[in-house]
C-alpha cells in the first residue's frame, strides 16, 4: 500500500475533513448546475415544471452524495472498485433482460424510486477499476502485452454490452475514457499509435471501398455519413436535427436573443431541447458570451481536476481524478461538437446541464470520488 509510505497522520480525520474539500470545484459544479436550471426553466417556457424542480432535487441529492463519498477514505473506494465494476456489469446484463425501452433503446432499470441507467454508472466504475488495476500493477509491467490485454478486456466487455442496447454515445465514452486512463497510467505510445493508425486505416478503407464490390458498409450507412458531413444535403430528413441546431446556435450572435427569447427552441424547431440539445438554447439565448462562459466553467472544472490529480502522490487517487476529469471532458466536448456540427449526432448529454437523473447523480458520485482522493491525499512532511 503505497499510501502507508506517506504521512498518514497528517491526513485530516473526523468532521474537519469537510474543510479540506476542494471547495472551488464544488462551487464550479454548482455554477454549472445553475446554468442548467436556468436553461431548463427557459425551455419549459418559464416554468419550474416539468424539469427544473426534479433537476434541483437531484443536484441537491448529488451534492450530499458527493460530500458523503468525500468523507470516506479513498482507499475504501479503491477496495470497492472491483465490486462496483462487477455490480455495474451485472446491471448492464440486467438491462438486457429487464430493461425498459426508452427512445428506442434499452437503457433503464426501474428501481422504483429512480430509473437507473447502468451505462452511466459504468462510465465511473470503469475508471475506478482501471485506476485500481494500475495502482496494483507493478509499474514495470505496464506495457507488457498480457498486462495491456487485461484492461482492454475490462473496457471492451461493458462497451459491448452498451453497444447492444444500442447506445453509441456511451460506448464511445467508455472506449475513449478507458483509453485515456491507460494512457495516463503509462501504457506505451506504440499501442496508441497502432490503434490510431488502425483507426485511420479503417476509415480510409470504409471510404475507399464505397461503390466497389468489397464495400464495407451498407448504402444507408454511407448516406448517414454523408448527412453528417453535409447536413444541408438533407435538411428535412436525417440532417434536420443538426441543421436546426446550427441555426439556433448561430442565430444567437454575440449576446443572444435574451433569456426566454430564443425563437427556435421556443417553437420546437430543436429536437431534444431539454436533454442533448440544451446547449443550443443556451447559445441562442445568451449568444457567444453565454456559450463561451459555459465552456470556461467546464475548463475550470477540468483544471481543478488536473491540479488535484497532479498534486496527489497517491497513484490510485491521481489516476482516478484524471480519468474522471477526462470522462467529464469527453461528455461536454462530444456534446458541444455534436450540436455545433463537428461530430455526428450521438446521444451524449451536456454534463450537469442536460435534464437527466442518472447522469447527474453518477457525475456527482464521480466528483465525490475525486473529492475523497483530494481530502485523503498523502501529505508530504
Amino acid at each position: 500500500m503505497s499510501y502507508l509510505e506517506y504521512y498518514v497522520k497528517r491526513v485530516p480525520t473526523g468532521p474537519s475533513k469537510i474543510l479540506h474539500l476542494n471547495w472551488p470545484l464544488a462551487i464550479l459544479l454548482t455554477a454549472v448546475a445553475c446554468v442548467g436550471f436556468l436553461m431548463l426553466y427557459s425551455v419549459a417556457g418559464g416554468s419550474m415544471t416539468p424539469w427544473v424542480e426534479p433537476q434541483m432535487k437531484r443536484f441537491a441529492l448529488g451534492m450530499v452524495l458527493m460530500i458523503a463519498i468525500a468523507m470516506v477514505p479513498i482507499w475504501f473506494w479503491r477496495n470497492m472498485a472491483g465490486l462496483a465494476y462487477g455490480a455495474s456489469l451485472l446491471l448492464l446484463l440486467g438491462v438486457e433482460f429487464f430493461g425498459s425501452t426508452g427512445m428506442g433503446a434499452q437503457r433503464w432499470i426501474d428501481l422504483g424510486f429512480i430509473r437507473l441507467q447502468p451505462s452511466e454508472l459504468t462510465k465511473i466504475t470503469l475508471v475506478m477499476i482501471l485506476a485500481a488495476y494500475y495502482d496494483w500493477l507493478d509499474i514495470g509491467k505496464t506495457s507488457r502485452p498480457l498486462w495491456v490485454a487485461i484492461p482492454l478486456l475490462l473496457i471492451l466487455v461493458p462497451t459491448y454490452l452498451v453497444l447492444r442496447q444500442p447506445d453509441l454515445g456511451t460506448a464511445l465514452l467508455l472506449v475513449m475514457g478507458g483509453g485515456a486512463v491507460m494512457f495516463i497510467a503509462g501504457v506505451s505510445w506504440w499501442y496508441f499509435g497502432i490503434v490510431i493508425a488502425g483507426g485511420v486505416g479503417l476509415v480510409s478503407a470504409v471510404f475507399s471501398s464505397r461503390g466497389t464490390s468489397w464495400q464495407l458498409l451498407k448504402d444507408y450507412q454511407y448516406r448517414r455519413i454523408d448527412t453528417f458531413l453535409d447536413p444541408s444535403s438533407d435538411p428535412l430528413g436525417a440532417g434536420y436535427h443538426i441543421t436546426q441546431s446550427k441555426i439556433a446556435l448561430g442565430s444567437g450572435g454575440w449576446t443572444g436573443r435574451g433569456f426566454m427569447q430564443g425563437t427556435q427552441s421556443r417553437l420546437n424547431f430543436l429536437p431534444e431541447k431539454h436533454t442533448d440539445f440544451i446547449f443550443t438554447t443556451l447559445a441562442e439565448e445568451f449568444g457567444f458570451l453565454g456559450a463561451f462562459s459555459l465552456l470556461v466553467l467546464y475548463a475550470l472544472i477540468i483544471l481543478f481536476c488536473f491540479y488535484s490529480a497532479l498534486s496527489n502522490k497517491d497513484r490510485f487517487g491521481s489516476i482516478l481524478t484524471l480519468g474522471i476529469g477526462v470522462t467529464f471532458f469527453l461528455f461536454f466536448a462530444i456534446n458541444m461538437s455534436m450540436v455545433m456540427g463537428l461530430a455526428p449526432v450521438v446521444g451524449v448529454p451536456l454534463p450537469l446541464v442536460s435534464y437527466g437523473g442518472s447522469a447527474m447523480l453518477v457525475l456527482m458520485v464521480a466528483f465525490g470520488l475525486t473529492q475523497s482522493a483530494h481530502v485523503h491525499r498523502p501529505r508530504s512532511r
Partner: protein, 647 residues
C-alpha cells in the same frame, strides 16, 4: 505489495507527464470548440439569424375576392358566391375511416373526389384542414352540422367561388374561370404567389382570361409564427390585399339573352350588335352555347367530350373567332372603292347577262337570267354579281382591299375575348406572300362578291355596318368601365370617305330591305321611324362541280349540312338616325335574306324597343309566323318583359 519510493517517484513523474499531454490535448479541443462557437455565433450570425427567421415565420396568402363583372345596366354577369365545403382535420377525426363511413351515410360523396381528398389528407400534417367535398347544398351542410357530435374532425365550411348567374348567355363573352392547372403555370410568366394555392380559380377564356390581372386583385398575406410542426402559434401581421377590379361590360343582358335565344332557333349561328356611335357591343351571340358554371370546378370528362364532339362547336365563339366568306355583304366595300377611285358614277350602268366572261372562263351571276342594265343602287338592291365583276376589274383588288381595311376587314380588334380573328383581306402582296403566286383577275372577281380568299368574322361585319351607318371609324368596345373608370371611346373620327358616296351606299342598302325588288324586302320593318337598311349575303362553302351542275344538285336542301351555304345579313336601323348596327351569320343556313335577315331584324327591333318588339313593327303578312316564333323563344323572365321605351 510494497513499492519503493523510487518506483513511486517514477509513477508520479509518468502520470504528470502523460497528464500534461492529455491536458494539452483537451485544451486544444476546447480551443477548437471555442473557435467554432465564435465562427458560428459571431462570423456567420447574420446568416443563421436569417435562416431562423425563415424557420419561424410563415407567410400565408389571403386570396382576394375576384372582381365582379356587370352588364351595362349594372346586372351581375359574374359573381362570387358562397361555396359550401366539407373539411376534415385528421387529428381531430381520430378514426378517419369510421368517420367518413358515417358521413357517407348522411350525404353522397363522389368516390373519385373522396379518394383524391384522402390522398391529399395523408400527404399533409394531421392538423391541416383538407377539403373533402365542395359546392354542396345548404341542406348537406345543415345535415352535417346537425350530426356534428357523431362526426369528429368534420367541419362544414364556406368559401368563395365564381358563379355565372346568367349561365350560357355570357359563356362566350365572359368566358369562365377554372382551377389553375400545371399547364397554366408553365405558360404564365407571372409569378403571383396566388397561383400556387391549390385549386385557385383563374380566368381560362374570354374576359375572365383577358382581364385576369385586373380581376384577380392583389394577394393579401398574414405573417404567422409557426412551430416546427407547422402549427400556427400566433398572427404577427396581416394585410388583406386588394380585391379585384369590378368590370362593367357594354353588353345588355336582356338583349344578349334575346340574341342567344333567337340564335338557338338555328343550328349554328352568330350575331353581333353594336352602337354605330360609341362602338359599344350590345350583344355578342354565338349558338349553340354552353354553361360556364360547369367549368368552374373543372369539367367532367363526359361533359367536356360532349362539348368538343358536337359538330356545331358550342365552345367556339363564332362571332369573333369564326371567319366566313362575307359574300354579298362585301359589295358595299367594292362600291365605295369604285366611287372613291372615281372609276364610275352612281348612274353608270353595267349590263348583266347572267355571267361575266373573263378570258374563256365564265363567272356566273346568282340570277341565271341576268339583271339587264344595272346601276349602283340596283346592284345593291338586287345584289347583281356581274356589276361587281365589272367594277372589280376597273378598280383592282388593292384599292378594294385598302377600302375594306378602313372598315375593319383584316383587322384583329382589340377586344378582350379569346382567339379574336383578323379574318383575311387579300391583296396582291398577300397572295404573293401566302401562296407565292401572282394575283389573277379571277381572284378579284371572286373577292368582289365576298368569296374566294376574303374572310371576315361577324364582329368585323358588324363594325363595317356601324362604320357605314355612322361614317366614322368607330371601334368596338366591350369593357365599359374598370373599377368605375370609364374606358375611352375610340374612333369617332370621320372615315375619310366622301359623305355623298356613303349616302349612295346607304341608299342602296335601304333599297335592299324597303323596296319590292330588294333581296331583303321580306325583312323590312313597318314602322316609319325604324326603317332598316341592310344587305344580305349567301356565301358558298363549296364549289359546285360540273357534275353536280349537270345533275342539277344546286339547291342547299340537297346537300349535307356542312356543305350548305352560309347565310349572312348585315343591317342597321333606324335608317335616318342609326342607333344599332348588326351582323348575323347562320352557318350553313342557306339564303342570307331568308334565314339570316329575319334574325338581324328581330335583334335590331328588340334592341330599339328595349324588349320584345310589338308585332305591328312587322309586315302584316308575317305577324302570325313571328308570333309563333316568339312563342318558341326560351327567354329569361326579365328579358321577356316588354320594352320600356316602346314606341
Amino acid at each position: 505489495m510494497k513499492r519503493s519510493p523510487k518506483d513511486t517517484e517514477t509513477s508520479v513523474r509518468r502520470i504528470t507527464r502523460r497528464g500534461m499531454v492529455l491536458g494539452s490535448l483537451q485544451l486544444g479541443m476546447m480551443g477548437v470548440l471555442g473557435w467554432r462557437m465564435r465562427q458560428m455565433q459571431v462570423e456567420q450570425a447574420d446568416e443563421f439569424r436569417l435562416l431562423a427567421e425563415e424557420n419561424r415565420i410563415n407567410m400565408r396568402l389571403i386570396a382576394p375576392a375576384r372582381g365582379l363583372i356587370f352588364d351595362r345596366g349594372g346586372i351581375p354577369v359574374a359573381e362570387n358566391t358562397q361555396n359550401y365545403r366539407i373539411v376534415i382535420v385528421r387529428e381531430d377525426a381520430g378514426d378517419v375511416d369510421a368517420v367518413i363511413d358515417r358521413l357517407r351515410q348522411l350525404i353522397y360523396l363522389d368516390p373519385d373526389e373522396l379518394e383524391r381528398s384522402l390522398r391529399e389528407m395523408n400527404r399533409r400534417s394531421a392538423f391541416v384542414p383538407v377539403t373533402l367535398t365542395d359546392q354542396r347544398s345548404w341542406e348537406d351542410i345543415a345535415t352535417v352540422a346537425v350530426n356534428a357530435p357523431a362526426l369528429p374532425g368534420i367541419i362544414p365550411d364556406v368559401g368563395l367561388t365564381r358563379h355565372y348567374p346568367l349561365g350560357p348567355d355570357f359563356s362566350h363573352i365572359v368566358g369562365y374561370v377554372g382551377p389553375v392547372s400545371d399547364y397554366d403555370l408553365s405558360r404564365i410568366e407571372d409569378k403571383d404567389p396566388l397561383l400556387q394555392i391549390p385549386k385557385f380559380q383563374i380566368g381560362k377564356t374570354g374576359v375572365e382570361n383577358k382581364y385576369e390581372r385586373e380581376l384577380r386583385g392583389k394577394a393579401g398575406n398574414k405573417r404567422i409564427e409557426v412551430n416546427a410542426a407547422g402549427r400556427v402559434m400566433r398572427e404577427l401581421s396581416r394585410d388583406n390585399g386588394v380585391p379585384g377590379a369590378n368590370l362593367q361590360l357594354t353588353v345588355d343582358t336582356n338583349l344578349q339573352n334575346f340574341v342567344e335565344a333567337r340564335l338557338s332557333l338555328e343550328e349554328s349561328a352568330a350575331a353581333v350588335i353594336m352602337s354605330p356611335q360609341s362602338g359599344d357591343l350590345l350583344a355578342i351571340g354565338s349558338a349553340p352555347t354552353f354553361d360556364p358554371n360547369k367549368f368552374v370546378r373543372g369539367i367532367s370528362v363526359p361533359d367536356y367530350k360532349a362539348l368538343t364532339e358536337n359538330i356545331y362547336r358550342p365552345l367556339a365563339n363564332k362571332s369573333v373567332q369564326g371567319a366566313y366568306p362575307p359574300g354579298s355583304t362585301f359589295k358595299m366595300m367594292v362600291t365605295l372603292a369604285a366611287l372613291d377611285a372615281g372609276v364610275m358614277g352612281p348612274e353608270d350602268t353595267e349590263y348583266c347577262p347572267g355571267f361575266s366572261k373573263v378570258g374563256d372562263r365564265r363567272f356566273h351571276c346568282w340570277k341565271r337570267g341576268g339583271h339587264g342594265y344595272v346601276n349602283l343602287e340596283k346592284s345593291l338592291q338586287q345584289s347583281c354579281d356581274v356589276y361587281y365583276y365589272e367594277l372589280a376589274q376597273k378598280v383592282g383588288i388593292d384599292k378594294i382591299a385598302e377600302t375594306a381595311r378602313r372598315f375593319g376587314f383584316g383587322e384583329r380588334f382589340d377586344i378582350p375575348m379569346s382567339a379574336v380573328t383578323s379574318g383575311i383581306m387579300p391583296d396582291k402582296a398577300w397572295k404573293r406572300e401566302r401562296y407565292d403566286a401572282e394575283w389573277r383577275i379571277g381572284d378579284s372577281l371572286n373577292a368582289s362578291i365576298g368569296q374566294g380568299y376574303v374572310l371576315a368574322s361577324p364582329l368585323q361585319l358588324a363594325v363595317m355596318t356601324a362604320r357605314l351607318a355612322s361614317g366614322t371609324s368607330v371601334m368596338p368596345r366591350l369593357i365599359k368601365s374598370v373599377d368605375g373608370v370609364e374606358t375611352p371611346i375610340e374612333g369617332d373620327t370621320p372615315l375619310g370617305f366622301n359623305e355623298n358616296h356613303l349616302r349612295m351606299v346607304r341608299r342602296g342598302m335601304y333599297a335592299v330591305t324597303n323596296t319590292r325588288r330588294g333581296t331583303g324586302y321580306s325583312v323590312r320593318i313597318d314602322a316609319d321611324n325604324q326603317r332598316i337598311a341592310g344587305k344580305s349575303g349567301t356565301s358558298q362553302v363549296r364549289n359546285i362541280t360540273v357534275a353536280e351542275r349537270a345533275r342539277g344538285v344546286t339547291s342547299n336542301a340537297d346537300l349535307p349540312w356542312e356543305r350548305r351555304d352560309h347565310a349572312l345579313f348585315v343591317a342597321y336601323a333606324p335608317y335616318e338616325n342609326p342607333t344599332h348596327a348588326a351582323a348575323v351569320v347562320v352557318e350553313h343556313g342557306g339564303g342570307g335574306s331568308s334565314v339570316a335577315g329575319p334574325l338581324a331584324r328581330d335583334i335590331l327591333l328588340y334592341a330599339m324597343h328595349g324588349g320584345i318588339p310589338p308585332l305591328d313593327a312587322y309586315p302584316s303578312s308575317q305577324r302570325a309566323r313571328i308570333r309563333a316564333q316568339f312563342a318558341k323563344l326560351e327567354l329569361r323572365e326579365s328579358a321577356a318583359q316588354p320594352g320600356r321605351d316602346r314606341a
